[in-house]
């Protein structure tokens, strides 16, 4: 729409539909208007901030920024496409309702934001500070390096003294400003009495600085502030990168849905108003439009309405709620708008907390990462120990000159870089997680990757995992139906959302034209549909299942069974191929609550032996099965199989309510189908390879480098060049294989 308006604007004949809506009138009260002012331009005009809904492409920016061309009372408008916020400067004579109408008539939904109600994002603030620290460190590092190279190249006399003092001066901003997050981390680690990398970094940073000063003032030797600043700078950069990826990965989920700055419609004293989500309190009345996902738990205040609850309970069939019933965040009104009275704020809802906790734990629990950290600390400790021992050895036992001994120790301290492990590990995991999110796979923690790696068995739940969960009409009895019966069946199922209705509509899709109109058409969800045609009661009902491998429903005419329909679940296209590949590496089995006959039929079509195909299992049976088979990866329903998923070595929820799945399972597939499993295994494979290469490289690099330094083969200058090079190698290595 924006594009067509834009064309009209170019041609000079833009005619906007005149809005006579009065819903914006509340904006014109003086009290309201004064609260919305966000600043004043040099010309005395007021500036307002708006949230704009409905932005789609670049043309929207173009159109909204040309508001001054459309209305003379608008002086300027600036849009931030990403934040969906617009700053607008208007004449003091222009009513705010007119602004809203103008923007609305262009096809967008404007929401004025009150002054002081822009929500501050703490994660963003931390990132901003970090960028400033990196900028300062980068500046100091560049200059220190330049000066240090002159020193290594053999400058002496007055110049050397001046250069050295300048280096020390330039190092202070790094030590006192850029590195301060490490000291905070070190304090925390001291309080908790645990060795954290921040503590090691802080100690080595301060100690090395003091040693460097000693070297310069007392022993009259080279300093190594250049490598110290490079060390600080690179660690800061790597932290920023990790955080950035974390943020990006997280943004796609809870923060996107529960973006605390987004406008919600409230009802205050009978008047509609817009608030940012973060300011909604318990007891407030919120209005959610059709298809807008509920963001708070609450009681339904408006009339009865149908809600899609698939995010909550995984059911595709909508449910009807009546006044006074409790609704949960994540439901979606599909009938029309609904009003709720908030009982729990967005950040206390089940959906939010489970989404959040799945994201927070995300790197913390990995044993593998802890081990990598420990190896890093050991390398660092060893290097310090070797340095301490070898200095007297060099001077007293080997009788080397002090300057030579110091030069070797210096190279050793400079070249040792366990940080490759400390940040290479988390980065590798962050990249793997990001890649997984891109493929619609939610991994709850880094730990889950470790466990995927040690999996020996894979257990499939049948429905929806190996099969599509979509039914297909296999046959009918009698096998040929007259046209009127087909039309009747379609009419009965015309408004049903049940899988069987979809299957019937799909089977009889060649029946076009008007369907007979039934009186009192009613659906009892999950049980039956019925209606009256020409005085006869017709119904479609589930009937007792016989021992065949198919699902059966029947058409009844006044309670007499007339036609039987047999349905079958369809095998996913990719299942066969994938299972053949997996069989080479893992023991495969099927655990299903379904009839044994059906499970065996499925197993044989997938070339899984009968003894590994188990049917008619209750959730408890599945749990027992998992307990008997350690190192099992279980793919199943996040709700029904939650106990088994939790106990499994790796629990993967392939369907079911998201909030539940995130709590119980290690991994959730958002896309149906088994391709996600294939993706997950390949991501894990790449991750493990990258981790191995990084570990091998770091150990080999440090071992060789330390030895070369001890034998005096590497000068401090070469060491200072090699250290960041090794870090860069590790950085690029961590990303390998993840596009």
């Amino acid at each position: 729409m924006a594009c067509s308006f834009l064309n009209d604007l170019e041609a000079g004949d833009l005619r906007l539909p005149i809005s006579i809506s009065s819903k914006w009138n509340y904006l014109d009260q003086d009290e309201f208007r004064s609260k919305m002012v966000h600043g004043e331009s040099p010309f005395g005009n007021k500036i307002y901030l708006l949230q704009i809904e409905g932005l789609t492409c670049a043309s929207c920016t173009q159109l909204l920024e040309r508001l001054p061309d459309i209305d003379d009372r608008v002086y300027s408008s600036r849009l931030s496409f990403i934040n969906e916020k617009m700053k607008i400067e208007i004449s003091n004579q222009m009513p705010l309702s007119e602004v809203a109408k103008l923007i609305n008539s262009l096809g967008y939904k404007p929401h004025f934001i009150r002054k002081g109600e822009e929500v501050v994002d703490h994660a963003d603030l931390a990132m901003t500070k970090l960028v400033k620290r990196i900028a300062v460190a980068g500046f100091c590092l560049g200059n220190i390096m330049l000066l240090a190279i002159a020193g290594y190249a053999g400058i002496d006399g007055n110049l050397k003294t001046i250069f050295s003092f300048t280096q020390i001066a330039l190092f202070f901003p790094i030590l006192l400003y850029s590195a301060s997050p490490f000291y905070q981390g070190a304090m925390v680690s001291l309080k908790r009495r645990s060795i954290h990398l921040d503590l090691v970094i802080s100690i080595s940073l301060v100690l090395s600085f003091v040693l460097s000063l000693f070297a310069f003032f007392i022993w009259n030797k080279e300093m190594y502030l250049d490598s110290l600043s490079a060390f600080t700078f690179l660690i800061l950069v790597s932290r920023w990168t990790v955080k950035k990826f974390e943020q990006k990965a997280k943004k796609s989920l809870s923060d996107k849905l529960f973006h605390s700055d987004q406008p919600v419609k409230t009802m205050i004293n009978g008047r509609e108003s817009i608030l940012p989500l973060a300011h909604v309190k318990e007891g407030d009345f919120l209005i959610f439009e059709k298809d807008q996902i509920l963001l708070c738990d609450g009681k339904l205040v408006s009339n009865r309405t149908a809600l899609d609850c698939s995010l909550i309970n995984g059911e595709s069939v909508p449910r009807v709620y009546t006044e006074g019933m409790s609704l949960a965040a994540g439901m979606r009104p599909i009938g029309g708008s609904c009003t709720i009275q908030v009982t729990r704020k967005f950040d206390q809802t089940d959906l939010y907390t489970s989404l959040k906790s799945s994201e927070d734990y995300f790197l913390g629990r990995s044993k593998n990462l802890e081990n990598l950290d420990r190896i890093g600390q050991i390398i660092l400790g060893l290097a310090l120990l070797i340095a301490l021992v070898s200095f007297p050895t060099f001077t007293f036992a080997l009788e080397l000159p002090v300057s030579e001994a110091w030069s070797r120790i210096l190279s050793l301290l400079v070249i040792t870089c366990p940080c490759a492990l400390a940040f290479g590990g988390p980065l590798s995991y962050a990249f793997a997680l990001q890649q997984a999110r891109k493929k619609s796979i939610l991994v709850s923690s880094a730990d889950a990757f470790d466990r995927v790696n040690t999996t020996k068995n894979i257990v499939f739940d049948k429905t929806g995992t190996l099969t599509t969960g979509l039914l297909k009409l296999k046959r009918t009895s009698p096998s040929v139906l007259p046209r009127w019966q087909k039309e009747l069946v379609l009419a009965l199922e015309s408004s049903s959302q049940h899988p069987i209705a979809f299957a019937l509509r799909d089977a009889y899709k060649d029946i076009q034209g008007p369907l007979p109109i039934l009186n009192d058409l009613t659906e009892v969800v999950g049980e039956k549909v019925f209606g009256i045609l020409n005085g006869t009661l017709y119904s479609i009902k589930r009937t007792p299942q016989d021992e065949s491998s198919e699902l059966k429903v029947s058409l009844f005419e006044n309670d007499i069974e007339k036609v039987q329909f047999y349905f079958e679940d369809q095998l996913r296209k990719e299942s066969k191929e994938l299972l053949r590949e997996l069989k080479l590496k893992y023991n495969l089995s099927i655990c299903s609550g379904d009839r044994i006959k059906r499970v065996h039929k499925l197993a044989s079509s997938l070339l899984i032996s009968k003894k590994n195909a188990h049917g008619e299992l209750s959730p408890t049976d599945k749990l027992n099965f998992i307990e008997k088979n350690p190192y099992s990866m279980m793919l199943g329903d996040g709700f029904n199989d939650s106990a088994a998923l939790m106990r499994a070595h790796v629990g993967i929820a392939v369907e079911g309510p998201l909030s539940q799945s995130l709590k119980k399972a290690d991994i959730c597939f958002l896309k149906p189908g088994l391709n996600s499993l294939k993706e997950l295994l390949s991501i894990n494979h790449t991750l493990q390879k990258n981790l191995r290469v990084n570990l091998g490289f770091t150990i080999a690099y440090n071992f060789i480098a330390i030895n070369l330094c001890l034998f005096g083969r590497i000068s401090p200058l070469v060491a200072a060049i090699l250290m960041p090079l090794s870090s860069i190698f590790v950085l690029s290595q961590s990303k390998r294989g993840f596009s």
Partner: protein, 52 residues
């Protein structure tokens, strides 16, 4: 070589100037939205922006 003594403060002042320029730009929010300006450049600017 003594020219270096003059050049050193000049170099550092220059560098610090750029650092301050960056920090000022960063604080003013120039790096917050990197997408919209890319759209904005496609706009015809015959009447765009300020009118007073």
């Amino acid at each position: 070589m003594s020219i270096l003594i003059l050049m050193l403060p000049i170099a550092i002042t220059l560098g610090a100037g750029f650092l301050l320029a960056f920090l000022a730009a960063f604080n003013s929010g120039q790096f917050e939205d990197l997408e919209t300006p890319a759209h904005r450049i496609l706009n015809d600017d015959k009447k765009e922006g300020y009118k007073s």
